[in-house]
């Protein structure tokens, strides 16, 4: 498999945007995992981040704003042979798509969810996103954001996710490794990724993150839920990167008797015999 398999296309992103780093890491992760483009389905919603499926050669599904997750999990349910990756924005994932976020964690379909968390709505020119900091001033939040910022890592753990990580595009080696672990995890895996938006977020810049992030080391045990939530609560001067929480959970496919141990759904059939029986039941 050659490097070029996951070739990328000209983007509509701003020069210097954190999305470029993210895209490179994603490409690298897929290549290192020796995935073939035709077996990968990239799913995005709408936003700057959400354009990423357009910029990497793989199957792509650019859906509606906020609705990447339901489409992605259903595609995976339909064909478990696809490696399904949702890669999209923080507004998309946690704002408009918040209900799908908490409920798809409960489904635990084996897909990967990368959130380009720039703590702002980029494409619509800089309003607060769910993860924007308190006091963040924008053209709409004129007196500064008054909502309590969402802590997606903590929320995902509390919602029952089995794999919750945090990365930063400024630590690409670490991010690639995190992405690979997430893709290989056998259930829903979330990686919230700090991705500076150079155009609209003048607070959470590369420098801001650089000063605060640190990589969790081997001493850290991601399987202790309480400890993980404590770790997730660190959101001031110290921002941990890595697998914050990890637990083995039975995946959707293994919980669903229609799918477990069967051929992929799209290749299944209702036999003629069954169909006739169903008709006969009404006679």
């Amino acid at each position: 498999m050659s490097e070029n398999d996951f070739s990328t296309y000209e983007t509509a992103w701003c020069p210097g945007c954190g999305n470029f780093g993210l895209l490179n890491c994603l490409k690298k992760a897929l290549e290192e995992l020796e995935k073939s483009p035709e077996d990968v389905l990239m799913v995005g919603g709408i936003g700057q981040a959400a354009k990423i499926p357009q910029y990497i050669s793989a199957n792509s599904f650019c859906g509606l704003h906020g609705r990447a997750l339901p489409a992605a999990v259903a595609a995976k349910i339909a064909n478990e042979k696809l490696t399904v990756i949702v890669s999209t924005g923080d507004g998309d994932s946690y704002g408009e798509g918040g209900n799908h976020f908490i409920h798809n964690i409960r489904r635990n379909v084996n897909i990967t969810h990368f959130v380009h968390d720039n703590q702002v709505y980029g494409l619509t020119k800089g309003q607060a996103s769910p993860t924007s900091g308190s006091g963040f001033v924008t053209s709409v939040q004129v007196s500064g954001n008054i909502n309590t910022p969402m802590n997606p890592v903590l929320l995902a753990i509390a919602a029952g996710a089995g794999f919750v990580g945090r990365g930063f595009v400024g630590n690409p080696g670490h991010l690639v490794s995190l992405m690979k672990q997430a893709i290989e995890y056998g259930g829903y895996a979330l990686v919230d990724i700090f991705q500076p938006c150079v155009s609209f977020n003048k607070v959470n810049t590369y420098a801001y993150y650089k000063e605060r992030v640190y990589e969790l080391d081997e001493d850290y045990n991601p399987s202790d839920k309480i400890k993980a939530m404590e770790k997730a609560l660190e959101d001031g001067d110290k921002l941990p990167l890595g697998v914050i929480y990890r637990e083995k959970l039975t995946s959707y496919h293994d919980r669903n008797p229609v799918l477990k141990g069967k051929t992929p759904l799209l290749d299944q059939k209702t036999s003629d015999a069954v169909l006739k029986k169903l008709i006969a039941e009404f006679s």
Binding site: I46, G63, N256, L265
Partner: protein, 554 residues
């Protein structure tokens, strides 16, 4: 033909008695039609069903009753005036009511003696069978098919107690419908979707669409279908789109309120050209409205729902047969044209059960992908007929894309004015193909008609019967045209018949005459008058006849 009403409070088991009784009657050879009226509550209130049966085709309910089986006093109060001369009211002995038509049975006492007060209704069912000169020979099979094993014995006993407690009163009808099917509109629809190759059904519970999900779930393991209860209707439709894109035939179902939440994704299906079947089992709106009642008031909504412009098809189901065959057709059209197809049902049709000829599986074939182009694969290739080569991701070496933004032939976002126009035109071209697929409305009546009644969907049964009644007294002056395919609107037969008609009247289960508006928009035809009903209860043939006669008097 006879017509019985079985009524009681929610939770008293009206449903079970009705289910047993309708099956027993059908097994005895009767044609059966059961309409269901219930309240939006779990216990208490007043629910009832009417079972019509006889040896001729029955496709609708009726106002006139030959008998009432009353599980409580309210049922008698509400409905006794509708009982015809010679009819009966069957109730528990404890109810103080006297008269020639009153049949009292010690249901409550006997059921308690049997050990379960819930079988009181089964006793009544047994009595009814005897009254109408039917036998109980198929009753074991019926009980075993309808109930959980632990209730078999007691119900079989209850049936017999009832049967033995009365004497035959009515002439036995002997129809040839024994081997026909008896099922609800929603079951027929669900069965149709299975026959069409459904693999993935996602929905959020909502009356009156839930029976579709319940039936599919009950067969999911046998039929290899994933039934997914979504967190909301937005998820339901987006899941269906994801599954369909990935190659699993997908459907979602809901009622108007849920459909409202699916509107954005409907347009997504249109621009991304992902085949999808969406079922709207209508109920009275606006908003929550009357959750368990019936109405046909989502037509204009569904034909123009979602921002922007894209081709779609809307099929209104007229009866239980349609519910099966048109659902299959909906899947085929959705795939053939890569469009959303909306199926309009309603509570009346969905929840009523009817006797239909056994479904024929001949001629239902799975269509398969047929992309054989050489060269570059273009998901949104500009083609003559507007249909581009659709491949299933992961099933080909080509990469497959899908996009809710305007895109070029590759599926990449574009802002080009030129490409935009090409893509709109390409999508709209599918309408030419669809025009050739359209099925004309069904014409009922004699060609000598003077008045043409025009309806759509579930008023089919009432209209068909109304025409029969009117023509038997008025010598073939009436005919009806009932639309199944409704958008795009097939116009040929309509214009043809309208030309011959002295008077055209639209008959609809809504307040504004939505079909009439659509017809005027598309053809310029103006209706002379309208028969509209919007109280949440389906019109009967008698209602239609009465309205026509009262108009005639004016």
């Amino acid at each position: 033909m006879y017509n019985l009403l079985i009524g009681g409070a929610a939770g008293q088991g009206v449903d079970t008695i009705v289910e047993i009784l309708e099956k027993l009657l059908k097994k005895s050879g009767n044609c059966v039609f059961t309409a269901r009226d219930f309240m939006s509550r779990v216990r208490g209130g007043h629910n009832f069903s009417t079972i019509r049966f006889g040896n001729e085709m029955i496709q609708s309910h009726s106002n006139k009753l030959d008998g009432i089986i009353a599980l409580n006093e309210e049922t008698i109060q509400f409905h006794k005036d509708r009982v015809s001369a010679g009819g009966f009211i069957m109730c528990d002995s404890k109810i103080s009511l006297e008269g020639p038509g009153i049949i009292k049975i010690d249901m409550e006492k006997a059921s308690k003696e049997l050990g379960n007060p819930h079988v009181a209704g089964t006793i009544a069912a047994g009595a009814v069978m005897k009254l109408f000169g039917q036998s109980l020979k198929d009753s074991d099979e019926v009980i075993e098919n309808s109930l959980n094993e632990k209730y078999w014995k007691i119900n079989k006993e209850a049936l017999k107690i009832g049967f033995d407690s009365v004497e035959k009163r009515f002439d036995a009808v002997k129809g040839d419908f024994k081997d026909w099917m008896l099922l609800s509109g929603s079951q027929a629809l669900a069965l149709g979707s299975i026959a069409a190759g459904l693999r993935f059904y996602s929905a959020y519970p909502m009356s009156p669409s839930t029976p579709i999900m319940v039936y599919l779930a009950s067969k999911s393991k046998e039929a290899n279908i994933v039934v997914e209860q979504a967190e909301d209707e937005i998820a339901a439709i987006n899941m269906a789109l994801g599954a369909s894109f990935a190659g699993a035939r997908a459907m979602t179902g809901t009622s108007g309120g849920g459909f409202s939440l699916m509107v954005e994704a409907l347009g997504f299906s249109g621009i991304a050209e992902i085949p999808l079947v969406i079922v709207d089992v209508q109920r009275p709106g606006p908003a929550t409205g009357l959750p368990t009642r019936t109405e046909q008031s989502d037509l204009k909504f569904v034909i123009s729902a979602s921002q922007g412009e894209f081709p779609r098809m809307v099929i209104a189901l007229r009866n239980h047969r349609d519910s099966f065959y048109q659902t299959i057709r909906a899947f085929h059209l959705a795939e053939k044209y890569q469009i959303p197809v909306i199926i309009l049902s309603d509570q009346y049709l969905g929840d009523s059960s009817a006797t239909v000829e056994p479904f024929d599986l001949e001629g239902i074939k799975e269509e398969t992908e047929t992309y054989k182009d050489k060269g570059e694969y273009l998901r949104y290739r500009l083609t003559e007929n507007g249909v581009s080569p659709r491949l299933i991701p992961g099933k080909t070496k080509h990469l497959v894309s899908s996009d809710s933004d305007e895109h070029d032939e590759h599926g990449r976002i574009t802002e080009s004015a030129e490409v935009r126009v090409q893509m709109v035109d390409k999508r709209m071209k599918k309408l030419d193909g669809l025009a050739k697929e359209l099925q004309e409305p069904e014409f009922i009546g004699d060609k000598s008609f003077k008045t043409l009644l025009v309806g759509w969907g579930s008023t089919y049964g009432p209209l068909a019967e109304a025409v029969r009644i009117l023509n038997s007294s008025k010598k073939n002056q009436y005919a009806a045209l009932i639309f199944g395919d409704i958008y795009p609107l097939p116009q040929k037969t309509l214009l043809d018949k309208a030309k011959k008609a002295e008077r055209i009247i639209n008959v609809e289960q809504n307040a504004t005459g939505q079909l009439a508006a659509l017809i005027r928009e598309q053809t310029g035809l103006v209706f002379d008058s309208a028969i509209l009903k919007y109280d949440g209860r389906q019109m009967t043939s008698e209602d239609i006849v009465a309205r026509i006669e009262s108009e005639a008097k004016k």
